[in-house]
Structure formats: C-alpha cells, structure tokens
C-alpha cells in the first residue's frame, strides 16, 4: 500500500524531532563511512593498542585549541624529521655527517619530554659515533648523548645495517646518560647545585631549556629563543652513515582532542567509535526486533503449548535484574563485540514479544482472518498477507527505539571494563580515563567528548523514534 507508506512518511517528516534526528543520523553515517574507508579494520589491535605508535606523542595533554583560552603560552608539540645530513664529507680516512635542525621555543612551560629516533645506521667495521648536541639561545651547548651502537654479530658480514626495520628510539628524558650530561651542564655552566637525582625527579628539560630562576634554589625559568640540535655521525669508511633521524620536543598540547596517558590521539580513537557505535546499535536492535517480532507473531497466532513456552520464557527474562546478569554473563563468557550483541538480544526481545502477541491475538480474531481461513488460505499466507503488514510498523518503531538502548548498554558495559579490548569504543575510552584517574586529575578532554558522542548517537535514534510515534499512534498526531 504505497499511499499508506507515503502518508506515514509525511506524518513522520512533519515533526521537527524527526528532522533533527535524520540530520544527526546522516552525519553519523557519513563519519562512519569516512572512518571505514580510511581506517584499517584491525585498527584496535594494530594501532590503538600498540604503544609504539603513540610513543612520540605527549602524554595526557589537552587539545591544541585550548591555547586560545590560556594566558600562558603552552609548549607546542614539535616533531622534526631529519631526512638527510646538512653536511657530509669523507677526508683523511674520516667520514663525518652532520644532521641539524633549528627551532624557536617560545612557550612559558617546558616540553613534556624529548626523544630521538634514528634509522638505517650502516657501517663497514666499527660502529660510528653518533653525538647529540643541543645549542641554546644563550650560546651554550650541551653534549646530550653519545649513542651506543652495538657491534655486529660475528656471523654477519659487512656492510652492517642497523635500525632499518625497527628504528631505534631513545627517550632522552629517561636516559641516565642525558641526565648525567645535563646535571654536569647545570653545575658548570648554570652554576646550580643540581644532582643527577634531581634531574631524574623533574626531567632534564627543566635545565636543557632553562636558566636559573629568580626564586633561587633548583627552580628554573624557560629560556626562550632559537635552539639548534646537531647530530654528528663519525665513522672511518666512506659509506659509514646514518640514513635519517627524528627529534621530538613534546608539547603540553596536542591535536584536536588531546591525548590519553599513553599518548594516544583521542581524536583518532573517538572517530573510530562512530562506526562501532552504529554497528552495535543497529545490529542489536535489528536482531532484537526480529526475534521479538517473530516470537510474538508465533506466540499469538499458534497459541497452545508454543505460546505457553514463549510466555513463560518471557516471564523469566522479564523478572531478571538485567544489568547484574549481563555483567555476570559477560564476565564468564568473555567480552567480545558479538558476545555483547548476543547477550543484549537474548535479554532484550521480551517487551516486543508481549506487545506483538497481544496485537496478533486481536487481529487473529478479526472477521477478515476468519474469512481468509474459510476461503482456504494457509497459515503462511495469513501471517504474511494479513498479520505482518499490521504489526510491521510497530516492530519497526520498536527497532528504532531499541537502538539507543543498545548503544547505551554497550557503553555501560565497556565503562565497567567489559568492552571488547580489540575494538576501541567510546565507553572504553571513558573507562580507561576513569580508571586511570583522569577525572580526579581534571583531564576533561579525556572524559567529556566520549560521553557527548554516546549521548549524541543515542539521542539521534531517540529523536527518530519520537518522530515515529505519531505514525504508530494516531492519537498523538497534532491537529493541523
């Protein structure tokens, strides 16, 4: 009956809530499609849960745009790729390469950490010397580190190539050699009474990028200006060399949504949550409505023993305290996305079955059904031609109404630490933040956005369901 469908659509579209809901839904779908196209499907295992990917990001820092609301200039996150040496020569049996980068550091706060990564170190006999030197705006220079490159294994043959598959990352802030070098520098050049243990406590950046504070003691102020990092590579063969390097001066702000305490870019994780939330919501609600609708029709139409079995099952499931049982079962069977979906379906279908059954009971006793039976129509024909068309709109409306519940339930279970660890969801990001104390440390960027996204995803379907209500229940139609 196309006219009826059209009428229903018109009635649906007439409500403002429905329009808002549809706009939201289209946005959610577009973002999800974007994510599915550009993200690898094993994003959770390969990237999100892989600390190496996020090592060079600052840990637990707010979004970059918060700079606009801060009176202090926060340190930006600086990543310098050093693809090739600025100087390279081989003379008198000595090979010398110089990698160099200059940068302005104008923040009021120190960098969170510094790190250095090198790739493709190759040599003929002995490993080359790699020396890191930081030149400061005040003309001083700190020899931060002589990188210790191991000798090759006896069974290998030259040329030896190190760190090509697996670049070597040195976390300068945690390196004992750097601490010693910086402590020595602070004592000699800055005339400060600083021990290596002090450096270990506050981080070498306080002195690498600092001058003695007017407050005295071991406090330092930021020395603003142009810094230069030189990386000197010295070998004895013409082709002894380092391929490329990277230097990171970690900021106190990062990206659009900040990072968590592993340095993971929250914007990336939150984006991935879109298709997952939609998937959980739509799949769960479709299955729930399908099971509930079918069982309702069977229960109502068949009657007898089948009806009794279904109704007693409904009775049991209806009297179960849902959340504790869900937590318990999920803990026992192990949390995976499908387990969550299946459990939500198993405990979710009963309300629809009750209503569909009572609708079917009314329809079954209608005269037109009796007439069809008298005319010799089979069970299947009656169900598909006479019963389903009448209950279908209602089942569809319930399907939409189940969606936000499914999204919220998954979020709740994830928040309790029962989410599928291989697939990051908004609930899991919240759980991680909450259990790592982000709340009490005031890391709002880690706590608020995932919650808002959960609410938006759920609201979208609530609004559409509200828009559907006048279609199903003509009494609620506004007089126009």
């Amino acid at each position: 009956m196309p006219t009826r469908t059209q009428e229903a659509l018109q009635e649906f579209w007439a409500t403002k809530v429905a329009k808002v809901g549809v706009v939201f839904l289209v946005t959610l779908i577009l973002i999800s499609v974007f994510v599915l196209v550009f993200y690898p499907l094993n994003f959770g295992e390969e990237l999100w849960n892989n600390p190496i990917v996020w090592a060079d990001n600052p840990k637990a820092v707010g979004p970059s745009w918060t700079q606009a609301f801060s009176s202090q200039a926060q340190a930006e996150h600086l990543i310098f790729e050093l693809p090739e040496p600025v100087e390279s020569d081989f003379s008198q049996g000595f090979k010398r390469q110089l990698f160099q980068v200059s940068f302005l550091f104008e923040a009021d706060d120190f960098p969170q950490f510094t790190s250095f990564t090198m790739r493709d170190v190759q040599f003929q006999e002995d490993p080359p010397f790699v020396t890191l030197i930081l030149h400061r705006p005040d003309g001083e220079a700190i020899i931060l580190l002589d990188v210790d490159i191991p000798y090759p294994e006896p069974e290998d043959s030259p040329p030896y190539v190190f760190y090509s598959e697996d670049p070597r990352r040195i976390y300068l802030s945690g390196s004992p050699a750097v601490r010693l070098a910086v402590a020595t520098f602070a004592r000699r050049q800055l005339n400060m009474e600083v021990l290596v243990s002090d450096i270990a406590a506050v981080g070498p950046e306080k002195f690498m990028f600092g001058v003695p504070s007017s407050q005295g003691g071991r406090a330092t102020d930021v020395l603003k200006g142009e810094y230069t990092l030189s990386v000197l590579v010295e070998g004895v063969h013409a082709d002894d060399a380092m391929g490329s390097a990277r230097f990171v001066v970690a900021g106190q702000l990062f990206g659009l949504m900040g990072t968590d305490n592993l340095g993971r870019d929250l914007a990336v994780g939150l984006l991935f949550g879109f298709p997952v939330a939609l998937f959980i919501g739509v799949v769960t609600s479709t299955l729930t409505a399908g099971v509930g609708g079918i069982l309702g029709v069977i229960s109502g139409y068949k009657g007898g023993k089948v009806d009794m079995v279904i109704q007693r099952t409904v009775d049991i499931l209806n009297n179960v305290p849902l959340l504790p049982i869900l937590i318990f079962l999920l803990f026992i069977v192990g949390s995976s996305l499908w387990n969550i979906v299946i459990l939500l379906v198993v405990f979710g279908w009963t309300s629809l079955t009750i209503i569909v059954r009572s609708m079917v009971l009314q329809i079954r006793d209608g005269e037109f059904i009796q007439a069809s039976v008298a005319l010799g129509a089979g069970t299947r024909r009656i169900i598909f031609r006479h019963i389903l068309p009448q209950v279908a709109p209602f089942i569809l409306a319930q399907l939409i109404f189940f969606t936000p519940s499914a999204i919220l339930a998954e979020a709740a279970l994830s928040f309790l630490g029962l989410g599928d660890p291989s697939i990051p969801t908004w609930g899991q990001i919240l759980d991680r933040g909450f259990s790592d104390g982000a709340l009490y440390l005031g890391y709002w960027w880690w706590i608020i956005p995932p919650g808002i996204l959960i609410v938006i995803a759920a609201v979208t379907f609530v609004l559409i369901a509200l828009g559907f209500e006048p279609v199903i229940n003509p009494r609620l139609r506004r007089r126009r």
């Binding site: 305290p321 049982i325 318990f328 928040f415 709340l439 609410v455 229940n473």
Partner: protein, 347 residues
Amino acid sequence: MGLARSLLIKAISLFAVLMIVMGIIVVILGFSGYSDRLLNAIVTQQTNAFALSLPEGTLPEARAQMIADYETTLTEAYGLNVPWWGRLPSMVWRVLSLDLGEARTAQSYAGSKNINAIILERLPNTILLITSAIVISVIIGLFVGIKAATVPGSILDRVTSYFSAVSYAMPTWWIGIIFILVLAVMLRWFPTGLMYSAPPPEDPLMRFLDVLWHAALPIGALTLGLSGIYIYQTRTVVLNTAQEDFVSVARAKGLPENIVRRRYVLRVAAPPLLTNVILGLAGSISGAILTETVFRWPGMGLLYYNAIFTADEGIIVGLTFMFTLVYVVARFVLEVLYVALDPRVRY
C-alpha cells in the same frame, strides 16, 4: 475466593522465576568451570600456607604426607572431589536458607567476612541512594508530565519532549562523572565520592549532614537521568487517557476541568504510572551498579562489581539472589496494587 487464588498463583510463578534465575546462575558458574577454578585456587592457596606453617625439622616424607592429607581434606571440604553439579543442590539450598557463607575478599566494616553481614550492611546504603532519587524523579515526572500533557504542543510540552529525549540518551553514570568533574574536582563544592568524610563526624546530626553532602551528587545524577523518563511516561499515559471517549463525555456533561482531570484522567492513568515507578524502583536497585561505581558509594552495586572482578563467588550468587528477590517482590507488590487501584482487574 478467586482473587486470593490468582494472587497465590502469581506468587508461586514468581517464586519459580526466582528459582530458575538462581539455578541458571549456579549452573553457569559450575558449567563454565569458574566455580572449580575458584575453589582450586583457594585450596592451593591454603595448602601453600599450610606447608609454610609446618615446623622446620619435619622429615621430607612426613611433610609431603601431611601436605597431601591437608589438601585432600580441603578438597573434600570444598566439594571439589565431586563434579560441579554435585555441589549444586547444597549451594541452592544454602542460598535459599539465606546461609550465604563467607566472602573471599570483601569485608564488612567490622571486618566480618560473613556475606549476610556484608550485604545487609550495604543494602540500606543502596536503598538510601535509590529511593531518594526515585522519589524525587517521580514527583518531578508527575508534576511536569501532567502539566505538559494538559496542553499538548505547548512550549512546555515541546521543551519537556526534548529534555526527555536527551535525558533518556544520557547515561546516568556519565552525568555522575560530569558532576564529579565540575562540582567536585573543579569547584570543590562536593566530595568526589564515598559516603562519609574521613573520619566521619561523631555527632549524629553532623553525620547525617555529611552523608547528605556525599549523597548529593549521586542523587542529583540519578534524578537528572531518571526524571526525563518519568516525565515522558507520565505525559504519554495522561495524554492517551485524556483522549478517551469517556473523558470527552465527562467534559460534555459540563464537569469542571480539575474534576475531569482528577477523577477521570488521573484515576485511569494511575496503574500504568505506578507500574513504571515500581519497576523502575526494582530495576534501579540493581541498576545503580554504575552510579555506585562512579561515586564509590558503598552499596550493593559496587559490592557486586568488585565481587565479579575479584571472583568472589559467594557474593555474586548472594547478590544475584538479592537483586532477583527484590525484583520479584516488587512485581508481586505491583500485582496487589493493580487490584487495589483498578477495579476492572479481577482476573
């Protein structure tokens, strides 16, 4: 009498539900090997402790014999020598007779490991939180919902519709988190969690105020999350009733509007509303797990949550029993109230 008989049937079937839920829980614990793993761990732990407590000079053979004997005794004591379904009847019986045994890690404030004592200590805390929140939400729901239903399509009606949609979509636990972040961590007006200050005030009045101060945020969060649903349910039920023919007839007879509303609309709308309230109450006793976790409120929900992750089997079974019992009792109360409220319901 037909009424008493039908209530009795209802009571029996609800009791059956309780039994089946308990059965399912115990079977799952046994079938999944969870129970065996747990008991084995206890036996191993206690055996190791016993081995360490043996005197130094014991001969190696005697020592091994004593340890083996001890382990056998323990295995038998915990029923590990019979398969899991062999322990099933005794477990169900113990739970039904409210002999819940000892907890593994959880403790009461006094340090008791008796599960009954622990649960009974936590129960009032949960009830305090939930009952206050539900009562406040229901009052708001009835008041605003009826107001909104009086003039459908009015500004109030539309605003409440949107509020209800957002309130439904907003997880209570997340509202709680936002409350903590803004009102406790940033503004420092309220504590971030727990039920008492440390140390709790001695004076009863101060102690009461202290609990109130700690309960303000969780109750606020629950109220914000629940009231939207109650408003919407009230509005829908009242609106549906208000469009019934007998209401139009009452109006046509010239009855004053407030009498029409009170006697014709609300009287009829009361049973479904009551259903919502009581089921909400029963459901949220177990549903407060999340809110209690967020606020570290020492109620049954937090106890259950911790029990799952510390594999405290006795507590899990005991609390599931309690949750189901509360729910089933609420259902029964509902049946009785139906009869009282709606003369049409006589089975």
